[in-house]
Amino acid sequence: MREFDYRRAHDVQHALTLLAADPDARFLGGGTNLVDLMKTGVERPTRLVDVRELPLDGIEPTAEGGLRIGATVTNSDLAAHPDVRRHHPALAQAVLAGASGQLRNMATVGGNLLQRTRCGYFTDVSGPCNKRVPGSGCPAVTGEHHQHAVLGASDHCVAVHPSDMGVALTALDAVVGYETGEGPEEKPITDFYLPVGDTPHRETALPPGALITHLILPPPPAGARSRYRKVRERASYAFAIGSVAARLTVEDGRVAEARLALGAVASRPWRAHAAEAVLTGAPAGGATFAEAADAELAAARPLPRNGYKVPLMRNLVVSVLTELAEEATR
């Protein structure tokens, strides 16, 4: 780890100023990902701007009936918040499915959104990686990619986004708010994360130097049920090999509204628009759910050694939607 300057920011403007003063500065939130990446040499900042004491740690109702979640709210506080649990159970479940009690106490909402992939080539600075060193190559395409992407990947990068929280936020139509220094901006989370294309090192639409300040969660429709399910290679404390966040509203046996996002299958939380199109208005049953899953996964391009993710995601989508439909009609 290289030596660095450390500053605590007192307010958002102060944070932006401190960051702008050093081109190799980074914001420090919980540090659960950044400090680890600094230890492995992936990140070598010369200044850390600690933003955890900024007054961004509240969760408040919005005028529209949704929630405004501050960027420095910890994962633990987010998952424990009564309004999150009551109105957005998929989000609480997703956060609780991630990491460990200790890491959730440290990790912040803003930091979670910006966490980097856990691809083993990305974290090994002795070898190439297009995400870490643009143009150096992607060893995963021909090497180890058992846990890598099957949707939306390119020859340049097949890494997956590691977040559980982000998958739920993507299903729940969250909006990311940030401050650039020239005023606040907001962007739907589906636009916040960029497609991988030939620029895997560019992961989000966050302008350079900007600070995430909050999330907006719109209110769910009346009668909606949401759920997050995660499959991993051990029962806890592991990244997903596949996950599903879904929200379903059923009226008279038909799907009135469906929101579906898939995790651990793409470079970003994957919003399943094709599946939602099949679901909306269709009978809420197994045949519809299977058709929806197939519609989304028709675009899957598995690599030689991660083809299992296609049936895994199909089964997981059907299983979670079936559970939600049963809950809705109970």
């Binding site: 090994d124 180890e144 058992h146 051990r234 592991a238 991660n306 089964n315």
Partner: protein, 713 residues
Amino acid sequence: MTTTPPAHRSVGTARTRVEGRDKVTGAARYAAEIPFTGLAHGWLVLSTITRGRIREIHTAPVLDMPGVLTVLHHGNAPRLHTDYVGLLGVPPDPAACLFQHDRVPFAGWPVALVVAGTPEQAREAAEALTVTYEEEPHDTALTADHPDAYVPEGGMPAETSKGDLEAELAASAVVVDEEYTTPEEQHSMMEPHAATARWDDGRLEVVDSNQGAGWVQGELATLFSLDPAAVRVRSEHIGGGFGSKGLRAHQVGAVMAATALDRPVRVVLSRRQLFSLAGYRSPTIQRVRLGAGADGRLRALEHRSLNQTSQVYEFLEPSAGVARVMYDAPAHRTAHRLVRLDVPSPTWMRAPGEASGSFAIEVALDELAERTGTDPIELRLRNEPDAGPVSGLPFSSRNLAACFREGARRFGWQDRDPRPGLRREGRWLLGTGTAAASFGAGAAPSTAQITAEPDGSFTVRIAAADIGTGARTALTLIAADALDTTPEHVRVRIGDSDFGPAMIAGGSMGTRSWAWAITAAAQDLRERLIPGTAVPPDGITVRSDTTAALGALSRKERHSFGAQFAEVAVDTATGEIRVRRMLGIFAAGRIVNPLTARGQLLGGMTWGISMALHEEAVRDHHTGAHYAPDLAGYHVATHADVPHLEADWVDDHDPDDPVGIKGIGEIGIVGAAAALTNAVWHATGTRHRHLPLRPDRILTAAPGTKGEPTKRA
């Protein structure tokens, strides 16, 4: 010798650990936690290529970095004496014999040691050190048909054979002929290897984390051509070992640097470095052929195992050795083959040979039970041998049948419907399975000292190691009984090579070997203590050496045995497996401390869960290096993976054994992965033969699933 029955009986009663308070308050100090004045810190630099030669090490820029004291490498390191055979009958692993040449035989080979004033400075400088290489093509992939497979020599026989295998197979009513594989597994003890070395008045002192202080002392003295009396190794508390904590690069690096700088130097391996420098269990490709009559009685048994070793060291994972103890047949063949690859050297890891070998043979037996329509327990009981299948020697005691009977009763085996794939609970299919276990009960020569103190207490000194086994407490109970006193009057001091030669904590032989030496010394001491006479101020000290007594032990097959039972829930739509319960019943000699003994057996069974479901070190064969070598990439079982497990034991008495202890550190893992795999078959109807039972393997094997099972790069 006294003939009156002793008044005190501590062995067999549950006792909390004598060092327990220190462990729960954080007062127990491990190797990297003893303070030294003027301490410097060393950080190893490992090769980033897999095979080749070091061209240049650019030390000058690094020597100018803040706090850097020296950079050791093959160009300036002292020459070591490496041509010797150590305490355990094997030469040193060249990966520990630092900087003796410019060759790189595997990825993660140590090429330099950077020493600096603080750990942060040392690490940053080590990462800044530029090393250039001449790279050569490498081969790191173990394949069943590898052309370089060879028959290893030395150690146990590579092959055993009797009878006409092909004729008996041809005459068998039922034949099982399958391949089973296990992946590379890593010890992953919680405490990384750490050593601090310093010279003190002409004597080399090393504070280390190891499984045998005297063992490592002997190795270091020989390597550095020092008088053994001038080397002292201490290892008081050890954060897990499992076979990995012997002579390793960290001690050698610390000694080299402490010598070069004439100040104390500490070297701690990082979690990533452990993956290439601390040994591992070799992957295995095993072939089992069983031939049996319609009643399940074996006519032919063949177990072949192919394993890997490094280019610089030969280590055999003796997986095919299990059948030499467990099952007999008129035609019986076991065989090992090795392939030298451009990989690190494997080593002993909890139940070496038995853990991986029992997976293959015990799943194969379950397949035989299925195909003959025989109950899996009944099948094993029908094939109980009267004597060692290969040696022909009698068993000192073999209470496997008693383990199965007691286990079946407690597990509720009699109510089991043998048909697979029938039991469903929500999205989960349920199944149960069983397997047998065995592990050798050996002993090795050891010495012990006991001092009768003037205050009526006793001090025992023995170079034993407590790597978490509870040995310190067990030896306290053993000594108390042997001295006819209470444990409160006995202090057991361990982990210091100055206490004299002793067996290491390994091979499930530690407590048995040390107890033998302590018992012998105690008998001697009691004869010297004259009732009514005061003990002199310096106490009365006696020493024992069990070398002769061990040599007098009759030749027999001496083993622990066990029966493993497991119940699993499997979701074939996602491939998830949840273990619901396990029961292990063991025949493991005399149980010294039931509280810690249960922990040892449960720990082994927990390793079985981890081996069955999780563990797999992945190597990218293009780069030749590990993929994601850390505890997020290499999964061991978490709390959530381990349900309530039960372990218990049956009486197991060996009439001609003076100590009667068999060792319990390893048998708990043996057969556990097979019992779980057999339970997955019973739940789903699909037979799995490759570990770990990853979700993708379960999912893609399920009927009606489209998709390919994953092979790792």
